[in-house]
Amino acid sequence: MEHRQIGTKADEEGKGSFPTPTEIDSRKHGMWSLGWQRFKRNRTGMVGLALVAVVVFFALFGPFFAPYHPNDQSAMLEFRSKAPPSLKNLFGTDRMGFDVATRVIYGAPTALVVGVGSMAIASIIGIIMGGFSGYIGGMADELLMRFTEFFLVIPIFIVILIIVRIFGIVVVGTALENIPYLNLSTIIIILGVFSWPPIARMARAEFLRLKEMEFVEAARCIGVGRPGIIFRHILPNAMPSLIVLIALGIGGAILMEAMISFLGFGDPKAISWGQLLYFNYEFLKIAPWASIAPGLAIFITVLGFNLLADGLTDAFNPRLKE
């Protein structure tokens, strides 16, 4: 959003003068550019962004320079399984002779797909539901609030586990069984479906807050229709708080998937960090590196998104410093 700024030119000695227009500062005063400028100064946020960038990099390009093939079990043949980190295997090998480093790298795209995928689903549902109920109000609103409360109180993880398990069984013997990565996709969808309530709550709160503001009234006065108001006026202003929640949610979803896989309910065909932990946890004493590496990967990723979310909160809602 570009706009002209009219400022007062007061000289150093504090003598007032008449207002004069300063130079037209295009692209410097929009909400996003201002936010970005503030974000750049925030160290936690930048560290978070860096970490996330590293993970994204590995997710996109890692498979190209990974030292081995993820299913390469040659180490086992050479009696080198469960070997500690060495020059040959940067993070050692795990109990089946896989190279740990490679598998961890290949886990990155899985993690990101899970995180981004589930949050995409959650965001779409959440923003629509929350925005709708916040804007319209009335019965729909009441219903939504009860709904979100429901999701807040129930043990989400417990319920997800059983859904995944049931789905795994029900699908056996049907046509669906042959879809690649079916289990993973199910997990993504379920995570998405269970993550929308907090987003809806925030969206509703934002819509409630923003719809009473004067700029909305002004837009209405000049004839902007309802969809215009929602999409071009209210929504962009609600985005900052929502983006923070989404960033946190991505980290949370990755963590959830890791836990689901760790318990053995994950997708055996997909390489995910939780899966790696599931396979190697028994051998923690003998080959700890095989568990530490994926664990570290999860830590760094979740940390990255959390710090990013913190940085974003500060960037868009600067607390007044005394």
Partner: protein
Amino acid sequence: MGILRFIIRRLIFMVALVIGVSILIFFMINAIGNPIDILLAERPGVTPEVIEIVKKYYRLDRSLTEQYISWLGNVARLDFGTSIIFNQPVKDLLVTWGWETMKLQVTAILISLGIAIFIGVTAATRQYSKIDFGVMSAALLGRSLPGFFLGILLILIFSYWLGIFPSYGAYSTRNMLLGSPLLDSLWHMVLPVSMLAYFNTATLTLLIRSNMVDVLRQDFIMAARASGLKSRHVVYRHALKNAFIPALTYLAILFGLMLGTAPVTETIFTWPGLGYLYITAIQQLDFPVIMGTNLVITLMLVTANLLTDIAYVFIDPRIRLE
């Protein structure tokens, strides 16, 4: 009187919730098919007639709705059925394993609350000092460290390498610590409780600290000081009580997260609790245990939420008039 009506309303909502979840789970697991069909499928010498007889015996030949209502009725009389795997009354399993889970959960939440209040208040009263920054960074990091990775690390370091604490189970079968069963069970509890408490402590500390900072800035704190009250008194009786109120709602959420991820915690430490029981039941499709464990866990969460709601009303007089 408003309070009573409020409590009753919440109670009804909670009961509806618990029942709702159990209905969900019930119909889901029965989507797999009749448990008898599954159990006896493809067993040599089992004809359809035998299956029917067994079904009739277990009263699994009725409609699903009937089965559910009958189950609910039994539950009201504290009869949860018999476990397929263990061949014991589910109620007994729930009590024994539930006690183990509660040991961990309650201890963890109490410890994290205590530490969080102490550190949070200290950091807030010394805002901007080195202690403050140290606490904030440690807490930020702690919030991102996935609990279960921490658990794995704890076992690795303190159990395998240093050999101080046991790595699995709730009790030792031989060589009890100092020959005392109480000490022995406490010794086993140290690592899992640390893992559970870590995340909560970090989150609560940040929350309490930030609330305290806000409250300490308020005029009434300055007014209390200006009236000659001692600083310590002002901080604890005036500031903390105010700052704690928002933390209370968060406490319920944290408890929910902790209990909800109990399966993971208990798997890591091979702890004989409800989470572990649940996973075993899901894997082997032990319907009564699944239903029973689900009910108990949901009930616990719901109770925790209700308690915090009630506590909220009592502590914050501003709520009472609504």
